[in-house]
């Protein structure tokens, strides 16, 4: 038993394991980079780095092909910590190495937290437009709004994933009806029935109410391209105590909500990009995009934004441009793109609570490396100087 334990310890503290894991992580990063051509940067992160086992679809079946980022990173972390606990003995000579590895441990942990906590949203603003929410550019939600009160809407949101489990009866206390998903298409294009050209593949559309009844659905393959997003569509049937209220077709392609009255209240139904509301609002005052004279090479783009809070504590203009984001409320708003003939700005909105961790770990690692190689270099030049002197003498 004791020998088994020792074997176990020896395995986890061994340099061989370190080298093996380093080789695996180099390969992991390489494969993930290559896979980006097909999957795009987001799917790759989920598949390769934020997983224990990488599942690759071969002919539609997920096959485990490689240890994932959590697996390799986790083992590396154990290896590092174990080796240091086992061999830890502070000497000035080794202080550099220990600093480097301490920094590395911190960095691995930081990346884990980033993976778990980071949120990325997008904020599109036309010139003059004001918004108090940003939108996810990967996730969507079904919003059911009670619009009876003209001053405020009460909105109930259902995440997109729930719509994909067909037949589930979604019952929420805020709604006087149940929502039953009947069909779900992760990416689909809609077209008015009368405009459908012959030969375009369409699927059966059982919608009975709203605009959906007049539309034809063409499912599309899921896109992984970085500059395209999937536009899902779903068919949902609403049930009151007295029976079906109709089947609605919802899609992120339909920008206006579909309205109906039920139980004496007014309702608006829409599938939209998932929203993150803020306790403040942003207005695009002006977007400018300069190009170098006589070329299409962008020289700079910048958004002049007015930031206001309802309590009036904040009311100021900020300028967001390349390499100069707005940091506010724990979020970073950076200039990500533009659209619509330079009349619309696209800001990326990132929340990363563990942003400080890499800075600290970097500092530790850099100091450690400088210390380590600095002392090496010093020792070397001393030795070299001495051997020179002796050979000269």
């Amino acid at each position: 038993m004791r020998t088994l334990y020792l074997e176990f310890v020896r395995f986890f503290v061994s340099l061989r394991l370190t080298v093996g894991l380093l080789a695996l992580s180099a390969l992991l990063v390489l494969f993930a980079t290559l896979d980006q051509v097909h999957l795009g940067i987001w799917a790759v992160q989920e598949k390769w780095f934020r997983s224990f086992i990488v599942l690759h679809e071969i002919k539609g079946f997920p096959v485990p092909v490689f240890p994932g980022g959590y697996f390799i990173g986790g083992l590396l972390l154990i290896n590092l910590v174990a080796a240091h606990l086992k061999r830890f003995a502070f000497t000035w000579k080794k202080a550099g190495i220990q600093l480097v590895h301490g920094g590395l441990i911190l960095m691995l942990l930081g990346e884990l937290f980033t993976g778990l906590l980071q949120e990325e949203y997008q904020l599109r603003l036309d010139e003059g437009q004001t918004r108090n929410y940003s939108e996810s550019w990967r996730f969507n939600e079904l919003a059911v709004a009670d619009t009876t009160d003209s001053a405020t809407d009460t909105v109930t949101v259902i995440p997109e994933q729930r719509l994909s489990s067909l037949g589930d009866e979604l019952q929420v206390p805020a709604l006087p009806f149940r929502v039953v998903p009947r069909a779900y298409y992760p990416n689909a294009s809609l077209m008015l029935n009368e405009n459908v050209p012959p030969g375009r593949p369409v699927v059966n559309n059982p919608a009975t109410a709203g605009l959906g009844a007049r539309l034809a659905i063409t499912p599309l393959p899921i896109t992984y391209q970085q500059d395209q997003r999937n536009l899902p569509a779903a068919l949902i049937e609403l049930f009151g105590p007295e029976g079906s209220l109709g089947t609605y077709l919802v899609s992120t392609m339909l920008t206006d909500p579909q309205r109906f009255s039920y139980a004496g209240r007014e309702w608006a139904l829409s599938l939209r990009f998932r929203r993150a509301y803020k306790p403040y609002s942003l207005t695009l005052v002006d977007f400018s995009h300069d190009r170098y004279a006589g070329t299409d090479i962008p020289k700079n783009f910048s958004s002049r934004i007015r930031l206001t809070t309802p309590d009036g504590r904040e009311d100021r203009e900020v300028l967001i441009y390349m390499n100069n984001p707005l940091r506010y409320d724990g979020l970073t708003f950076y200039q990500a793109g533009f659209d619509n003939n330079d009349k619309t700005t696209v800001l990326q909105v990132v929340r990363n609570p563990s942003w400080l961790v890499p800075y600290i770990s970097c500092l530790l690692m850099t100091l450690g490396l400088l210390w380590q190689f600095g002392t090496h270099l010093l020792a070397f030049s001393r030795k070299h100087g001495a051997s020179r002197a002796s050979s000269a003498a």
Partner: protein, 622 residues
């Protein structure tokens, strides 16, 4: 004699460098094309000499800067450009369009034998097939650049080059006119009459048919120039505050309809054309001088840089450096066989001379651009070579065995060759895209990471020397082997430091501007792989997990890793960093990787006898 040999070599090297620095002069008694080449124009967002336009365009068309005509005459870039801009159809007959793909030739109904050097064709030769070329290009254009077949890429490239040629031609004087000066002056004189004729014609009244037709014809040409001209050769007028608001000749000529008088520059260009076509030396040189003096009033400071750029291109310091590095490499290799002291020192001198020259070249580029040394893929190649050669000079000082000199000569030469090929795609002093426009981060992150590339390559090349000498010659004795191992280790430590710090600085830049430290973007991943690989080698050594040959093999593999990060990620064409897209280098990259794998096999293949036996492949005390 042997004692003075290194000094003689150095003196020869200096003479050679000096000879390239002479000011280029046009032959006396002929129109001064060199002075013409120094005239400033605005292209690609910056003010540059016509000379740079000529060299860049020729490199892009045919991969070299001089034009060789059918009768054996050679044209300098400035002379070629003067013919294109001023001499009507004369340049149509010059073979400057390189076509290598057989299918493209077939498309144009051309045979390789029809071309100069079997591959260069003239505009005249392409003319009958241009319609078909355009059709094929339109078919290829909707395909994403990375997904195009080689044929499609070549079609698009040729079509773009022909388009550029036509646009260049429309830059100074209206195209397809026998005597543009006469046409412009008579246009100015008859303008009121011509306008009256056109007005009458619009009102369907009796009018001077010929005058109206002449006017409409010229207006059409001006409009073509206004739409298509490649150069912006006319400086902003005094009322315009913006220094970059240079104007297009066609637009200025169209303004004549309002002002009634042709703008001075536009008229001067026609004068240049008249003088150049007629070989009127005095007139040509006078107009060039006047044009320059006119620009001098406002842009004196810019013109200093424009002139410096012209001299810089003519001196071609990086080409000279290539020659010096090859010579240093040969001398260093020689020193392994004979006269180690003498030849080794001579090699070191040439390497140092090449380094000084590169330093001056890079510094000049920095001054011209007002930027840190690395701003694009081209300048990164220069900098990688510079860093590696600089480290070699230090190493050679510590271990004077001709080893580091050889590695330095090889890396210096390779880096400059790579830079030359990267310069074929366009202006190497191009303006910075908005996303990169931060001198602080360019000076820190980009410089440090490029130093990481340079030192990782150096470790790999030194290791390659070890393998080649050990496996193929008997010259790798115990001492040489130990020296090489120490050098590789020292440089690897350096490389780890630089690549780690550089990667981290990149992360901080990303956090500052994008709000996240790490985004798993291809270029970031490439840098990370270098760090991981260097760390792996160091751990293998510290853990004594393999002997020197194994370590050398790992270091050689570092060459592949670095090349992948440097260029491979650009080939993927995805991610935020894919600004330096190159696709012609793909096969070169594959070939390089294959050669390195061969070296690795040589290093570690079991049962492969090495001719040198420095020691068995067992771990050595660290």
């Amino acid at each position: 004699m042997k004692k003075f040999f290194p000094l003689v070599v150095l003196a020869l090297g200096l003479l050679y460098v000096g000879s390239t620095l002479r000011e280029p002069r046009a032959p006396a008694g002929a129109p001064d094309a060199v002075a013409f080449g120094r005239l400033p124009v605005l292209v690609g967002g910056r003010i540059k000499p016509l000379d740079t336009v000529a060299r860049g365009t020729l490199l892009q068309f045919q991969g070299r800067q001089t034009v060789r005509l059918a009768d054996g005459r050679k044209l300098a870039p400035d002379e070629w450009l003067a013919d294109v801009l001023l001499a009507d159809k004369k340049a149509h007959a010059y073979p400057v369009f390189e076509i290598l793909h057989p299918d493209v030739l077939a498309l144009l109904k051309l045979k390789a034998e029809d071309g100069a050097g079997q591959k260069r064709f003239s505009y005249e030769q392409l003319l009958p097939g241009l319609e078909e070329l355009e059709r094929q290009a339109q078919l290829a254009l909707p395909v994403e650049a990375q997904r195009r077949t080689r044929f499609q890429r070549e079609v698009v490239r040729l079509r773009d080059n022909v388009g550029l040629y036509v646009r260049l031609q429309a830059s100074l004087v209206p195209p397809d006119l026998e005597t543009p000066l006469d046409a412009l002056t008579s246009f100015q004189n008859s303008l009121p009459a011509g306008i009256a004729a056109v007005r009458l014609r619009q009102q369907k009244q009796a009018h001077d048919e010929a005058a109206a037709a002449r006017l409409m014809d010229l207006a059409g040409r001006f409009d073509f120039m206004a739409q298509n001209a490649y150069l912006l050769p006319i400086p902003p007028d005094d009322a315009e505050k913006d220094d970059t608001a240079w104007r297009n000749t066609g637009a200025v000529l169209l303004d004549t309809f309002q002002s009634g008088a042709i703008e001075a520059h536009a008229l001067s260009f026609a004068g240049l054309a008249y003088a150049w076509r007629g070989g009127k030396t005095d007139e040509f040189n006078t107009i060039v001088r006047l044009l320059r003096a006119e620009t001098e009033k406002r842009f004196a400071a810019r013109l200093v840089k424009v002139d410096a750029e012209t001299r810089f291109s003519a001196a071609a310091p990086f080409y000279t450096g290539m020659v010096l590095f090859v010579a240093a490499l040969l001398l260093a290799l020689g020193s392994w066989l004979k006269w180690p002291e003498t030849l080794g020192r001579a090699a070191l001198y040439l390497l140092a001379l090449g380094f000084v020259l590169m330093t001056a070249g890079i510094a000049t580029r920095m001054w011209l651009e007002g930027r840190p040394p690395v701003t694009n893929l081209y300048s990164s190649a220069l900098f990688v070579a510079w860093v590696a050669v600089g480290l070699c000079l230090i190493l050679e000082k510590i271990h004077p065995r001709g080893l580091a000199s050889a590695a330095g000569g090889l890396i210096g030469f390779s880096g400059l060759i790579i830079a030359h090929h990267l310069s074929l795609t366009g202006d190497t002093l191009e303006m910075m895209r908005a996303v990169l426009d931060s001198n602080f981060w360019l000076a820190t992150h980009v410089v440090v990471i490029t130093m990481g590339y340079g030192s990782t390559y150096l470790a790999g090349f030194l290791a390659a020397l070890y393998v080649l000498r050990g496996a193929l010659t008997r010259s790798l004795d115990r001492e040489t082997a130990a020296a090489l191992e120490r050098m590789v280790y020292g440089i690897l430590c350096f490389a780890t430091l630089f690549s780690l710090v550089g990667t981290i600085l990149g992360g901080i830049w990303a956090d500052q501007s994008w709000g996240r430290f790490w985004g798993w973007d291809p270029k970031e991943n490439g840098a990370l792989i270098i760090v991981i690989w260097n760390a792996l080698i160091l751990h293998v050594r510290w853990g004594k997990l393999t002997g020197p040959r194994g370590l050398m093999a790992l270091a050689v593999f570092g060459n592949i890793v670095t090349s992948w990060s440097w260029f491979g990620t650009n080939l993927l064409g995805v991610g935020l960093h894919s600004y330096g897209f190159t696709d012609r280098g793909f096969w070169a990259l594959i070939a390089f990787a294959t050669s390195q794998l061969g070296l690795i096999a040589l290093a570690i293949a079991p049962g492969l006898p090495w001719r040198s036996q420095p020691q068995a492949n067992t771990p050595r005390e660290a």
